[in-house]
């Protein structure tokens, strides 16, 4: 296992210490409880936004804490959802009387832990907590025969857009509605060229031959839906864009935020190359790219690969997307 780490058991807390040291101006990090707070949280009158999940997806979620995005993020072990205690502590800390929204990616563990936290928080302090679950991954059939679709790339876009709404003082119910609207209008699909290695496991989660790739992967190093022969970027782009477009479906004349995300081990030059392919496919389908995002935002440790996320937007969503944000992972207008 080749990683810049010390003891595999210390990866998460040491990385959090590094975040704290690197961003003292914007973040306050409770290393013991593994919670990253916006430095000036709680913000009077503002709905508190909390997310969290396993570590290994950096910058998500801790890197999205700050003005115009999250108030707190709970970090679990690598690929393991955080525990209710963290979510409760974060919920209490960011509640300024306007209630708290939990942004949860749809994984059994995340959902169950956040559910327990919401139950406990409601019983305990009387904090009003709403939850929204993201489930945008079209690689998974949403049916009785699965745990439902995974929450992937849309989570990033949602945290930004909903963060802007909370920042401008929208009330909890409205913020939660917006979050659901964003989730409903977003779809994603990912692929991997290589596996990642969970530090505590010490070896790659799966083996891929030099001429193979996994299509329909999630963000936890889990194998995908299909193992296919390696293909040129142009074909890979189609394998990701086509199922996304036809699922919602996105139609001619639609406006979208187009997001090409790296899984952690793929360099930016390849992501821009992929974006070139994606933009051409959307152009041919008559779909307008209102805004774009290209980079490593929701990763799977050092996995090589990428995902494509589309979010159908109207003027209101674009306005919220463009609103100032100041987090370690996303920043503009501030």
């Amino acid at each position: 296992m080749k990683k810049l780490i010390n003891d595999p058991g210390d990866v998460v807390s040491e990385a959090l210490r590094g975040m704290a040291a690197a961003h003292p101006d914007r973040l306050r990090v409770d290393v013991e409880n593994r919670i990253v707070y916006r430095k000036d949280a709680p913000r009077p009158g503002k709905v508190g936004l909390i997310s969290g999940g396993g570590s290994g997806h950096e910058p998500m979620h801790g890197g999205f804490v700050g003005l115009g995005m999250l108030d707190a993020a709970c970090a679990g072990e690598v690929f393991t959802s955080p525990v209710p205690d963290q979510m409760m502590a974060a919920t209490k800390a960011v509640d300024a009387g306007a209630g708290v929204l939990h942004i949860v990616k749809n994984y059994t563990g995340d959902v169950m832990n956040f559910e327990m936290a919401a139950e406990l928080a409601a019983a305990d302090a009387g904090t009003e907590v709403l939850s929204v679950v993201t489930n945008d991954d079209v690689a998974v059939q949403d049916s009785l025969y699965t745990a439902g679709r995974r929450g992937v790339g849309v989570t990033v876009l949602l945290e930004k857009i909903v963060g802007a709404a909370a920042e401008e003082g929208q009330p909890l119910a409205q913020v939660a509605d917006l979050a659901r609207r964003v989730n409903d209008n977003g779809r994603s699909m990912g692929m991997a060229l290589t596996s990642c290695t969970v530090p505590a496991a010490g070896k790659p989660t799966f083996d891929l031959a030099d001429n193979e790739m996994e299509v329909g992967i999630g963000i936890h190093g889990e194998p995908g839906r299909q193992r296919l022969p390696l293909a040129p970027a142009r074909e890979i782009a189609a394998m990701l864009v086509d199922p996304v477009v036809s699922d919602l479906p996105y139609q001619q004349g639609d406006s979208v935020i187009a997001f090409v995300n790296g899984m952690g081990g793929t360099p930016l030059i390849e992501l821009y190359l992929m974006y070139n392919e994606v933009a051409q496919l959307l152009d041919r389908a008559g779909i307008t790219v209102a805004r774009s995002l290209v980079g490593n935002y929701i990763t799977s440790l050092e996995m090589a690969g990428c995902s494509v996320t589309l979010l159908k937007v109207d003027d209101d969503l674009v306005r919220l997307w463009d609103a100032p944000v100041n987090t370690p992972g996303l920043r503009w207008g501030a």
């Binding site: 994984y107 025969y145 989660t205 194998p223």
Partner: protein, 206 residues
């Protein structure tokens, strides 16, 4: 059998899960995210730390504390599921004697907690596929007059069969369900850890 037997169980299970951590993670690599061994090990080591520091007057207090520790320390799917199991198992034992029947009722309460949280059905390729036959075997053994020890041995044997029977299944719950047909041919990690915990119970709760 008193609270000490349950302490023995938890310590023994912690040891077994520690030894099998790499194995459980390997199973989870094939159809999940390669953390089940680390998760179980972290949770049960935390229980051991609690046992080292505190003493418990009753089995129910002990087991509730074990459940809360799992909920607080594990995360993922297995944390709330095993946490809820031990919480409800302990709660059901409050004020009860530790007869085979009482323990059977508590096991049922625990597994109902697993179902309430996880909503799994038989054949979904989850830990419930080990719990369900284990409960049945336990009940049958007690109905046939067995004491706790032999009943748990029967339960553990049934759990192992249930665990083995997860191999050909296509997962319909949890992370493995994302794989669709590709999940077939692999043994469920959670059913494996459940079996280890029940085998440990059979060794210690006598």
């Amino acid at each position: 059998m008193g609270v000490d037997s349950f302490v023995d169980w938890l310590r023994d299970a912690a040891g077994v899960l520690h030894e099998n951590a790499a194995y459980l993670t390997e199973l989870d690599s094939a159809i999940g995210d390669a953390d089940h061994g680390a998760n179980m090990d972290r949770g049960f080591q935390a229980i051991v730390a609690v046992l080292d520091e505190s003493s418990f007057d009753s089995a129910d207090e002990l087991l509730k504390k074990a459940g809360m520790t799992l909920v607080s320390k594990v995360g993922g799917a297995s944390g709330p599921l095993y946490g809820t199991f031990f919480l409800r198992f302990g709660t059901a034992l409050a004020g009860a004697d530790l007869s085979a029947e009482a323990i059977g009722r508590a096991l049922h309460a625990g597994v109902e907690g697993v179902l309430a949280r996880g909503k799994a059905e038989l054949g979904d390729k989850t830990m419930y596929d080990a719990w369900a036959p284990a409960l049945e075997a336990y009940d049958a053994a007690v109905a046939g007059g067995s004491e706790v020890g032999p009943a748990l041995t029967a339960a553990a044997e049934a759990a192992a069969k249930g665990r083995d029977a997860t191999v050909p299944l296509v997962a319909r719950k949890g992370r493995a369900s994302y794989l669709g047909e590709r999940s077939a041919g692999h043994q469920d990690p959670g059913a494996t850890s459940t079996t280890l915990i029940l085998e440990s119970a059979a060794r210690t709760l006598t």
